[in-house]
Symmetry: none
Subunit: 219 residues, 4 copies
């Protein structure tokens, strides 16, 4: 209708796709539903994105970037800040990206679905966004582990995985957590509390990991 309706329709389609895909998953979501939500024609998706796949890929890319832009993993901290603070920033921003409100959470939901029904978009996503995040976290971890730990050491990798796992859990198991611990709130303060716990738990672990027994003691 308007002169810039070209980009406008594209925007509306992306927004609608974010809603629908993250709620129903790639397979379940239908192009028709997305277009109805976006008040656009069925053919618009194919015109602008080349098909359902194209729309999904474009969405995934954009969602990740939007999330990172809103809640960058260093949360504005200077690169020279102490590792402890940088770890907290990483964890806090992680939770905000996935538990916060608005379109920044699409990404988390979409990725969670991607874990169940992997599409070809995942490879690109890992290379482009997830690997850098992983390197970032492992840099912090290696510094805290100390003792000459490197970013690529197996121990560093495992510890980073333990931290990422804690972060993702509160999001991915939300339905269960809601039932087991109904008093946990996921508002701004609640998210901050969670971030503080995970940071504290992880710092304790990292600081003593190096001096702990390789295998659990068996007296």
């Amino acid at each position: 209708m308007t002169q810039d309706s070209g980009e406008d329709t594209k925007r509306r389609l992306m927004d609608a796709a974010g809603e629908v895909f993250s709620e129903q998953g790639f397979k379940s979501a239908t192009v028709r539903t997305i277009c109805r939500t976006a008040r656009a024609n069925v053919a618009a998706v194919h015109y602008h994105f080349g098909g359902k796949d194209g729309l999904y890929t474009a969405l995934l890319s954009e969602a990740f970037e939007a999330g990172l832009r809103l809640h960058p993993p260093d949360m504005g901290l200077p690169a020279g800040a102490p590792a402890e603070e940088r770890l907290f920033a990483f964890i806090h921003s992680f939770l905000l990206r996935m538990l916060g409100e608005g379109r920044s959470t699409w990404c988390g939901k979409l990725m969670a679905r991607e874990m169940l029904e992997t599409t070809h978009a995942l490879d690109h996503m890992v290379e482009q966004h997830i690997l850098p995040l992983s390197v970032h976290l492992r840099g912090i971890v290696a510094e805290i582990l100390g003792g000459g730990a490197q970013t690529d050491d197996p121990a560093t990798r495992l510890c980073a995985m333990s931290i990422a796992g804690q972060c993702q859990h509160v999001f991915r198991s939300k339905p269960i957590i809601d039932r087991l611990a109904p008093d946990l709130r996921f508002d701004e303060a609640g998210i901050r509390s969670l971030a503080e716990h995970i940071t504290r738990f992880s710092l304790c672990a990292l600081k003593h990991y190096a001096h702990s027994a390789e295998k659990p003691t068996r007296p």
Copy 2:
């Protein structure tokens, strides 16, 4: 064909459904595929389970119990065993249930799906199986935390969540982990190694959690 094919067909359908659903997801899986796998007629699913949904629900119920029966959370340890060993057993059995081979893993995949599209089956699942597991874990955690920590303390809950999160992560983010760390193997030895790391990481954390600062230090 055979005379006792009544119950037999039902059995074969469940097995096939486990395979197909957990590999392709609920929506992607087709009744035809399941029936072909089970060497049964297309209409058999509707005859025995009333439809695709019914089959899925029936499967979900059975899968959890089968998993717990195969890899009980104490792995046969006596109730009086040291908390460290019981923690390792809990973590190890957790991983085995989800990363192992065969029908014990169906449950994990199906539960992961349930996190995205909650059905009425979840409430029953939580009450019946997950809450007991949670209590079990929190018992161990409280004991290790020491200092009079109770099973219901917020700190205990959070720490238990951190442990469960680490366990679930290796399973739920498998597609990503496969890409980021292609050398990680999930055979028997690999699973054991993972369990050892998570136990070690968590023990370090638990043992020093009580004496750590509430908030990350800000020197």
Copy 3:
């Protein structure tokens, strides 16, 4: 509905496909039209033939065979009959197959369309049905040409082509012939007259072909 409705529906679909495909061509014809004509469900085509392609291939095969069964190229003549008579039989049956009435003419129409929009079904058709016909004709031609002419000689091939061309023309250019020579009738007697002309024309040519100048004289 009835017990043998399985084969019945298949039959009706083939009949409808013959009508629709031969009138509209492969691309233009729609599965819906065919199914409506056959009073069958849209999905029936995919159930019985695996798709539009499958139905088309099956139809083409069957139509050719039905035509040949109804009007065999020797028209019942003994193998030892004189070559002239066998040539007439070949030409006459050719015209009957394409200009006659009923389903035997589908094949001609379909093949005509195949010449314009070749589908993958053509290769099979050539190997299975057309090559044998070609060999048959060339056998007769070589015998009439005399002088030791072989079935595979270039001259034999060209002459056979000239004969086949005449036969096909009356069918393929029917709309034009109807306009240029409106008095030509294509009833039983008319077809016989045409066959007699083509046989006469071709016999004259074949009998003197060998002794004619290689190139048209240029005095």
Copy 4:
């Protein structure tokens, strides 16, 4: 883009349509493909020709005339040339128009299509171009038949049809001929050879047709 693109675009569209329509057929060819080939906008076809149909009709008209202009049926021979030479010229030019390269062949393909789905354009085409060609050929044929044969005699008509049929066959059954006789080439020399054969075959027939038995002998 350029100032004179008005007529220029129309030209390019016609050329592109000739290529695409004659290769893919009316239904298969898409407006988009044609416009892409012509480096024109999707809407250009509708602007200049009123739609896909209009473009096709316009093309059909032009193609026939272009073909006849390029390869006239007398191929420049004086009207007084011997009938044998004029027959060869007629046949040769016929083949060149349909088997040659470039835009002269569009006509043949489009006409072949018209035989299957007659449009209102055919009547005009017959009156304007085909009837004159028919008269031309029948004049030659009557002369060769001799014995006072007239242009309008049934025998003359039938023989002319036999000749036209041979010419059209090599073009209309090309996909089959390519498979049955893959060594036949349709380059300049190949086309000349074919014209020589058809002329020779037809001359043999015409010269003895009058004295042959009405019906094939039955000894």
